[in-house]
Amino acid sequence: MARLSAPATGRNPSGSAPKARGKRPRRTLRQIARGVRRRARRLAGRLRGAYRRSLQLRVVTSTLVISMVVVAVLGVFLFQSITDAMIAGRTRAATAEAKANVSSVAGYFTVSQNEVPAKGGDPAAAVGTPVELAARDLAERAGSRYDVVILNKDAVGQDRATGSIDAASVPERLRRDLMKSGSTTLSWRQPATLRYLDNAKPNQIGFVVGSLVFSPDGTYEIYHLFPLQEEEETLSSVLQLLVIVGAGLVLLLAAIASLVTRQVVTPVRLARQAAERLASGRLEERLKVRGEDDLARLATSFNEMAGTLALKIHQLEELSQVQRQFVSDVSHELRTPLTTVRMAADLLYEAREDFDPMAARSAELMQAQLERFESMLADLLEISRYDAGAATLDLEPVDMRDVVLRAVGDSEALAERHATRFELRLPNEPCMAECDSRRVERILRNLLFNAIEHGEGKDIVVALGADRDAVAVAVRDHGVGLRQGEENMVFDRFWRADPSRARTIGGTGLGLAISREDAILHGGWLQAWGSPGEGTQFRLSLPRLAGAELKGSPLPLVPPEVEMRRSWRGQATPVLSAAAGESGVFDVD
C-alpha cells in the first residue's frame, strides 16, 4: 500500500512541496508507511483478539476455509472433466469429419490438372481442375463452421483456401511433420490460433487437422481448421457459473455454520455470565431452562450446582454464626466465675508472704496466669464483637504524633525489659486525622509489642508519614523477619511463626487480628513486609477523613534502605545478586 502511493508523493518535492511544507509539515514516506503498518498491526491485533475470544468466529472461519478448499478441489475436478469431455468430443468429431472429407475429395485428384478437358461457353458450368472441384466441394461441406486450406508445394497456383482464413494459420511444424510422414492414411492434428485476412474476423482458438493426398500434380496438403470459439465461450460461462455457485455455496456454509454455532454459543455465553454473577456473590443467579437438549441439561445442572452451593454457604454461615455466638457466650459466661476466681486469687496473692514458699510461688503464678486469662478473654470478647458487627468507631480529629507517642510510652517498660530502644521518626508539624484514637493506639501498641517480641533486642524504628489524603505509621524491627507468604498469615488468629516458640510477652495470639479488624473499620490498611534476616515492617495507613477511600500510602511498605540495596545489587553484580538473594548473607550495611 505504501509502495503504491510512493510515486504520488515522490513526485511533489520539486514544485509545490516547499510551500505546502511551510504551512503544514508534510508527512514523510516513512512516517506514512509506519502509520499504515501500525494501523495494520492494530487491526491484526484486534482481529486476533476477536478470533481468540469468539468461538463463533473460530467455527465460521474454519468452516469457510475447509469448505473453500473442498469447493475449489471439487470445482477444479468438475471443470477439468467437463473441459476434457467437451474438447475431446469436439476434436474427435471434427477429426472424423476432416478424414471423411479428405477421403471423399481424394477422388478428384486422380487426374492431372492438364488432362481436364477445356470447355468454352458458360464458365459457371465448366468442369474445373481437380483442386478447384475439391476446394468447392470442401467449401460447401464446411459452410461457416470451419475452413479448409489446400496447399501444394509441387505445382504452381494450386493453393486454395475457403472463407477468409489466413493460410498462415497452418502451423509450420504441422506442415513439416505431415510432409515428413508422407502417408495418406495418417492425419496430423495440432492446436493453433486461427487468423483471418485483415482481421475480417477476430482471431480464434482452434486446431488444425492435416492430411495428404497424392495426385499426378504432386502432393496436396489438405488442412481443416476448426475453431473452438464456441467451446471456449461455453466453457468460460460454465467456469463463471461454477465460480459463482462455489462462492455462493461457501458463503451459505459459513452462514449455516454461523447460525448453528450461535445456537450453541448463546446459551454458553448466558451460562458464563451467570457463573460470573454467581462468582461475584449473587447466589440467587439462575439460568433459564429451555427444552431438553444438552444445553438445557447443562443449565439444569448449573442451577442445581448453584443451589447446592448457596445452601452449603448458608449452612456454613449459620455454623460460623453459631460458633461465634458460642465463643461470645462462653467468654461472657467465663467472666463471672473468673471475677470470683480473681478476687479469691487476689486475696491469696496479698497474703502470699504468710504462705510457705511453695504456696507463695503458686499464688504468684496463679495471679499472672489469671491476668493473662483475663486479657485473653477481653480479646476474645472484642473479636467476637467484630464478628457480630457490633464494633463502632468513636471518631475525633487527633494528632497522630500524640497517638504514636502515647503508644510508645505504653511500651517503654516492656522495651526496657528486652533491652530494646525505639527510634522515632516523626514529622515536625501536626498530622491530623479523623480516627478513633483508642483503637489506633491499640493497633500501634500491638505492633510495638510484636516488634519488641521478635526484634531480638535490636532497635525498633517507628516512622510517621502523611500526605494530603492519608497518614501512615510504619513499625520496623530487625529481627528474624518473615518468610515468603507469611505476610498475610501474621494477621490470622492464633497464628505463630514458629509453633515451638513460647510466647514470652504473653500475647494472646489475637492482637494482630484485632488490629487488622480495627484498621479495616477505619477504612485503612494494615500490611506486613518481612524478609528472613532483614526483619519485619508493619505499616498502618489511614485516610485523613473518615469514610474516604484510601488510594495510596505516604510511606513505603518495603523499607527504603532494603529497596535501595536490592536495586543497587541488581545493577552492579547481577550474578552475585542471585546468589546473595538466595543465601541472604551478603549484607552491605
Partner: protein
C-alpha cells in the same frame, strides 16, 4: 462433517441427473441449413492463395504463378502478383480499373529456353471467353467469331530469376478463376418514374476481407453499370456509405452514413430505396432488413421491412401465372384455362375475320392491343366491347410490329430507306399521339423488330447494318426527349443466318428464333451471361413466338399452338393459330 454431507449430496445429485440429460424422445422438427449455427450472411467460397515466385522457377511456372496471383482477390493491389514482374513492368501494370479477360489460355513453352538465354517470349494460346469490365459487366465473347488470343508474354532473366517484362493489360483469368473469384449478382435500380426496378446483372469479385453482403451493398451504392445508367436512377444520395452490415435478432441491420437521412423527407424515394435494397439483398438471405443511419434508427421512425413487401417492383413485371393471347382464325383469343373453350377478347380485335397482323398487348394501365393492318400504320384497339381500331402511328415507310412498354406507350420503327439501302426512324405513341425518337445508332440500319422489355428501359432490336441481321440490346432514355442508345450486340451477324423473331421472356432473358439454311433454332439468351445451354428445341418450323417467365408460346407453320411450360411442349390447339402474344415484351 459438513463437507462430508455436501460430498454425499453431490454424489447423489450426480447419480440422479445422470439419467435424463439427453431427451430420448420428442417431436420431429425440420432441420434447415441455418440450423448448423452458421451465419446467414456468410456463404462458403474458395479463394486462391497467391504465392510468391519460387526460386529458379521455369518461365512457364512464372507465368502460371503470375496468373494465379492475379486471380486472387485477397489483396486488391495485388502485391504478390507484382513480384512476378520486372520493376519496369510493375510500374506499367495497373490491374484495377482495366477490364479482365477470361480465356481458356494455356501457358506452355514450345521449346525449353537455352540455359544462358536471358530473354524469352511465350505466346498465349487459347480463346477469349468473355471480358469483365471494371464495373463488373460480363461481356461474353461473340460466338462464331475468331476469339483466339493473340498476345505474348515477354520474360527476362533478372539476377538469374525469370521475371515478366511485359504483362498483358488487365487481369487474365481462366474459367475456373471466374467461377471461383466472382459471384453473379443482380443489382436493382428504379426506372426514371420510380414505377419498377430494372435489373443490372454484374459480376462481383469476392472480397474475403469485406464479405459478400458488404461488397454487394457497396456495389449497389456505386450505381448502375454503363449503358443502363442513362435509363435508370439511383435513389441513394451521393456519397452514401455502408458503415456496417450484420445480423441482429433475425434481421439484417444495414448501417449507412448520414447522407442517407436526406431521404427522410421524400417517402416515394424512400419506398424505392427500400425496394432496391430488398430486391438486391434477396440474393443473400430472405431476412427482414433494418436500415440505420450512423448507428441510430432512421429518422422519423425506424426503417424495418420485409422483402416480400416489394413484390410489385418485380422487374419481370409479368408473373408466371400470366395468361397469353393468340390469333385464332383472324380473331384475338385469350389463352383458355385447361378444359375450357377459347373465348375471343372483347372489342374490335375479338371480332371475326379482322385483318390484322403482329398484335401486341398491353394490360396496364389499359388493356389494349396494337397491330399492323393492311392500311399502313400502327392500329390500336381497346379490349372493351364496342371498341374500334384507331391509328396511332402513321408512317410512309414500312413499320415493324408494334411493341408496348409498361407506361402505355406503343413503339415501332419505320423503314426510311429504299430497298437495298439502310435507314430507320423510331416512333413511339402515347394515347394516339405519335412522336419521333432519336436513335442515332439505328439511323443507318434496317430494323426488323423492336421489342421494348417489360421493365420499360431495355429494348431488343433486330437490326441490319449491312453485314447481316444481328440482335442488339439498347436502352431507352426517357428524359425530356426520348432517346434510344447504348446499343450493344447480343448476337453478331452471321453469314447466311436470318433472325426470324425475338421475344422477351423476363427482364434479362431474350428468346431468339434464328434460321439458317431452312433450319430453325430457338435460343434463350441471357443478356448478361450469353446463351443458355438448356434451350427448348422445337421440332417444327415456327412463325410466331412470345414468352413469359417460365412459359413460351409459339405458333408453328401448321397453325398449331405450342406451349412450353418449362419442361415440355404441348399442343392445346391443332390448327388456325397465326400469332401468339403475351402482354408487353
Amino acid at each position: 462433517m459438513w463437507t462430508r454431507r455436501y460430498l454425499a449430496g453431490l454424489v447423489a445429485l450426480g447419480a440422479v441427473s445422470a439419467c435424463t440429460i439427453v431427451p430420448s424422445s420428442g417431436n420431429p422438427t425440420t432441420v434447415d441449413k441455418e440450423d448448423g449455427g452458421s451465419d446467414p450472411l456468410s456463404q462458403p467460397y474458395v479463394r486462391i492463395i497467391a504465392s510468391e515466385p519460387r526460386q529458379n522457377a521455369t518461365p512457364v511456372e512464372i507465368i502460371q504463378g503470375f496468373q494465379a496471383a492475379t486471380a486472387g482477390f485477397d489483396d486488391t493491389s495485388r502485391m504478390i502478383a507484382k513480384m512476378y514482374l520486372t520493376p519496369e513492368a510493375r510500374a506499367k501494370w495497373h490491374p484495377s480499373g482495366s477490364k479482365a479477360t477470361v480465356c481458356d489460355c494455356k501457358f506452355t513453352s514450345p521449346e525449353l529456353p537455352d540455359q544462358d538465354a536471358t530473354e524469352l517470349r511465350l505466346p498465349i494460346k487459347g480463346k477469349t471467353i468473355a471480358t469483365i469490365d471494371p464495373e463488373g459487366r460480363y461481356l461474353p465473347a461473340p460466338s462464331g467469331t475468331d476469339n483466339s488470343v493473340v498476345d505474348e508474354i515477354a520474360l527476362v532473366k533478372l539476377d538469374g530469376q525469370w521475371r515478366i517484362s511485359a504483362a498483358p493489360a488487365g487481369l487474365l483469368l481462366r474459367p475456373d478463376d471466374l467461377s471461383r473469384a466472382y459471384r453473379r449478382v443482380t443489382l436493382y435500380y428504379p426506372d426514371i418514374e420510380g414505377q419498377g426496378l430494372v435489373a443490372d446483372r454484374v459480376r462481383l469479385p469476392i472480397d474475403p476481407v469485406r464479405g459478400f453482403p458488404e461488397s454487394l451493398i457497396e456495389r449497389l451504392l456505386a450505381g448502375p453499370s454503363k449503358p443502363l445508367a442513362d435509363g435508370v436512377r439511383n435513389v441513394f444520395p451521393k456519397g452514401t456509405d455502408l458503415r456496417d452490415i450484420r445480423v441482429e435478432d433475425d434481421a439484417v441491420v444495414m448501417d449507412f452514413s448520414s447522407e442517407l437521412a436526406r431521404l427522410a423527407g421524400s417517402p416515394d424515394r424512400l419506398r424505392v430505396m427500400k425496394a432496391q435494397l430488398a430486391w438486391t439483398f434477396s440474393a443473400v438471405a430472405a431476412l427482414p432488413i433494418v436500415v440505420t443511419v450512423n448507428g441510430e434508427p432512421f429518422p422519423g421512425g425506424g426503417l424495418r421491412f420485409q422483402q416480400r413487401e416489394y413484390q410489385n417492383f418485380d422487374p419481370a413485371v409479368l408473373s408466371p401465372q400470366a395468361g397469353g393471347y393468340f390469333v385464332h382464325n383472324g380473331t384475338l383469343v385469350k389463352e383458355p384455362r385447361p378444359n375450357e373453350e377459347p373465348v375471343p377478347v372483347p372489342g374490335a380485335a375479338g371480332q371475326p375475320n379482322q385483318a390484322f397482323t403482329d398484335p401486341a398487348l398491353a394490360e396496364l394501365p389499359y388493356t389494349r392491343v396494337a397491330a399492323l393492318r393492311p392500311d399502313p400504320g400502327i392500329w390500336v384497339a381497346d379490349l372493351v366491347d364496342g371498341s374500334q381500331w384507331q391509328r396511332w402511328i402513321t408512317a410512309e415507310g414500312a413499320l415493324t410490329p408494334p411493341s408496348w412498354d409498361r407506361y402505355g406507350e406503343v413503339w415501332s420503327v419505320e423503314r426510311t430507306a429504299p430497298e437495298g439501302a439502310y435507314g430507320s426512324r423510331v416512333w413511339h405513341a402515347r394515347e394516339g399521339r405519335p412522336l419521333q425518337v432519336s436513335a442515332p445508332e439505328l439511323e443507318n440500319a434496317n430494323v426488323k423488330a423492336f421489342r421494348v422489355a417489360r421493365d420499360g428501359v431495355r429494348a431488343a432490336v433486330i437490326a441490319d447494318h449491312g453485314a447481316g441481321e444481328s440482335v442488339q440490346i439498347g436502352v431507352i432514355v426517357r428524359l425530356a426527349d426520348y432517346r434510344v442508345g447504348g446499343l450493344e450486340e447480343l448476337i453478331p451477324p452471321e453469314e447466311g443466318r436470318t433472325i426470324v423473331d425475338i421475344a422477351w421472356q423476363d427482364d434479362g432473358t431474350l428468346l431468339v428464333l434464328t434460321e439458317q439454311g431452312k433450319q430453325q433454332s430457338l435460343t434463350v439468351y441471357s443478356i448478361a451471361d450469353g446463351d443458355d445451354p438448356e434451350t427448348p428445341n422445337v421440332d417444327r418450323r415456327v412463325s410466331s413466338i412470345s414468352a413469359a417467365p417460365g412459359h413460351i408460346l409459339a405458333a408453328d407453320e401448321d397453325g398449331a399452338l405450342r406451349r412450353w411450360n418449362g419442361t415440355k411442349w404441348d399442343t392445346p390447339i391443332k390448327a388456325g393459330v397465326t400469332y401468339v402474344v403475351y402482354p408487353l415484351g
